[in-house]
């Protein structure tokens, strides 16, 4: 998985970014290996864009260190080691698609041929079209073409599919995935769970500027997944509750008035027990998915699972 080159594609160490009293990024330390496809997942305002801006050298951390391929971000950008597809803006509507790419190509010390990046971004067919007449999806693929020009080791995508329709999103991700298959490191910020789930090897979940979970999609899901059983059980017997807690494993049993709520990976024994040994009725079982995990891990109340990241020294 990690080539033994030793130099991380991205290395953040104790990074803080403050805007006045607001901590947009609050003590983030993480390392991304060359070749990884990483999703930065989090709700709006979680600190994803602030983090990306620092990796691209568009802003400086308040404290802490950011290295990209072992060098300062601005230098990595200037050498074309890292490039990015930003969320919106950044295009001039009076240029054609091809002119835009030619212009940016002229700025790099060495760049891939214009025709090649247009083809790889899937916009060779609209090369003569004015940028102002391109759809949101086409403009995004144009930004992708521009990002491919320096043949970067690391490609960063900030909410790349915002405002695209389903088909546009699909085309965009096909292009990205084909490209990532060649071994490029990709970091993308998103608040679409299905994108993180479908395209990332590794998901870093961010909430309020902190990393709250970091692992594969399956690992993140496992942090807060399983099923939820809800039943009406008036005046529960303490013995029954003890049995439920045992059946549910280490996970939670909650009593809310006459309702009992059990979170567990395996609800069948719990249901069987409730129906045969207790007067419980109206049993409802729902499964939790990555979205629930996401909501559970990024919710702003204090009952969310604590992964231990918050208590780091």
């Amino acid at each position: 998985m990690a080539p033994a080159t030793g130099v991380a594609a991205v290395d953040l160490h104790g990074v803080h970014k403050r805007f006045g009293d607001v901590a947009a990024v609050d003590d983030v330390t993480l390392s991304i290996r060359p070749g990884e496809v990483v999703a930065l997942l989090g709700p709006n305002g979680a600190g994803k864009t602030s983090t990306i801006d620092m990796v691209l050298g568009l802003s400086e951390p308040t404290t802490g260190a950011v290295r990209v391929h072992g060098m300062a971000p601005r230098r990595a950008v200037a050498l074309g080691l890292v490039s990015a597809v930003m969320q919106t803006g950044g295009l001039l509507k009076d240029y054609t698609v091809e002119e835009t790419v030619r212009l940016v190509a002229s700025l790099f010390g060495s760049a891939r041929p214009v025709g090649e990046v247009l083809r790889r971004a899937g916009i060779a067919g609209i090369r003569g079209r004015r940028v102002g007449r391109c759809s949101g999806g086409e403009q995004q693929r144009l930004r992708f073409a521009m990002a491919l020009l320096p043949d970067p080791e690391l490609l960063i995508l900030d909410e790349p599919t915002t405002g695209m329709d389903v088909a546009g999103r699909h085309d965009f991700w096909s292009a990205i995935r084909q490209d990532a298959d060649r071994g490029r490191t990709v970091i993308f910020a998103t608040h679409y769970l299905e994108e993180a789930d479908a395209y990332a090897d590794r998901i870093i979940l961010i909430r309020r500027g902190r990393v709250v979970a970091d692992g594969t999609a399956a690992q993140v899901r496992a942090l807060a997944s399983g099923r939820m059983l809800r039943a009406t059980l008036p005046d529960p017997d303490p013995d029954h509750l003890a049995d439920l807690a045992r059946l549910a494993g280490a996970e939670s049993v909650e009593i809310r008035g006459a309702t009992v709520i059990v979170h567990t990976h395996d609800t069948d024994p719990v249901a069987r027990y409730l129906l045969t040994r207790t007067p419980a009725r109206d049993i409802e079982i729902t499964s939790r998915n990555l979205e629930d995990a996401f909501l559970a891990l990024t919710a702003d109340d204090d009952s969310t699972p604590d992964t231990g990241q918050r208590s780091a020294p």
Partner: protein, 259 residues
């Protein structure tokens, strides 16, 4: 991925290149409003106000009044063109293009150099168009004066390239020329391009000498008239160039400091 297979290079000249200049010029002349403002309006103004019979017969120096008016209109065109080119910075900042360029090796100084070259090129085209129209519709100037006044009108318009850059960084507007167009019109009037300063009366005539267009107009017409306070014109030009360059550098520094 082959991390260090081929050495990565920085661009020559910080990213300044003929390709960049060429594309920027193409984009500028593609904008119909820019073309109308910078190339057509000055020529049309000359045709309307410069080509009357009286203007063609009445002499100024070794040329005619039409020639005198033509030089003023060429100055007007050059200042519109250079300002518009400099002020493109504002549109680019509003569109987020400046931020996009920060994801490339382009050096800010190279970017400014491109803007200035584009501005001076469009300014030269504007002067050339005005002179071509003037030469075929009755303006008379001695041979060398065509060249001298044209070069002076063009070269002195640098002050407005700096003005355009300054305004481009100062005004965060998509339609910056809709603000600057009328401003330039007033400045041209105040500086004696539409009405000679001598004909303005004492108060306005005095005020005129302190406005930024005055110097350019006096200097550009000097090869024809050999009259007027040339030193005042030169001083005026230098002072305003200093002011606008300082302003542009100040805003530019603030802009790049955000990185």
């Amino acid at each position: 991925m082959t991390a260090v297979a081929e050495p990565r290079r920085l661009p020559a000249l910080g990213g300044f290149s003929p390709t960049f200049v060429g594309l920027e010029l193409r984009r500028m002349v593609r904008n119909r409003r820019t073309v109308i403002f910078t190339l057509i309006i000055p020529a049309v103004l000359f045709l309307l106000f410069g080509t009357g019979t009286a203007n063609r017969t009445q002499r100024v120096g070794d040329g005619n009044v039409a020639g005198y008016v033509l030089i003023s209109m060429a100055v007007y065109g050059a200042m519109l063109a250079t300002t518009a080119a400099g002020a493109m910075v504002s549109i680019e900042r509003a569109a987020g293009w400046s931020r996009q360029l920060r994801l490339t090796p382009l050096r800010p100084v190279a970017y400014i150099a491109v803007k200035l070259v584009v501005a001076m090129t469009v300014g030269a085209i504007s002067v050339a168009v005005a002179y071509a129209v003037g030469a075929t519709t009755g303006a008379e100037l001695p041979g060398p004066v065509w060249l001298e006044s044209g070069l002076l009108a063009w070269g002195c318009a640098f002050v407005f390239a700096a003005f355009g850059l300054f305004m481009g960084y100062l005004l965060p507007s998509e339609n910056v020329m809709q603000i600057l167009g009328p401003v330039l019109g007033v400045l041209a009037l105040a500086g004696g391009l539409f009405v000679p300063v001598d004909a303005m009366g004492t108060v306005f005539g005095t005020v005129a000498k302190f406005t930024p267009v005055y110097g350019v107009g006096e200097i550009a017409r000097y090869p024809l008239t050999h009259q007027g306070p040339l030193a005042v014109g030169v001083l005026n030009l230098l002072a305003w160039t200093a002011v606008f360059c300082a302003g542009a550098v100040w805003r530019f520094r603030r802009d790049t400091a955000r990185v």
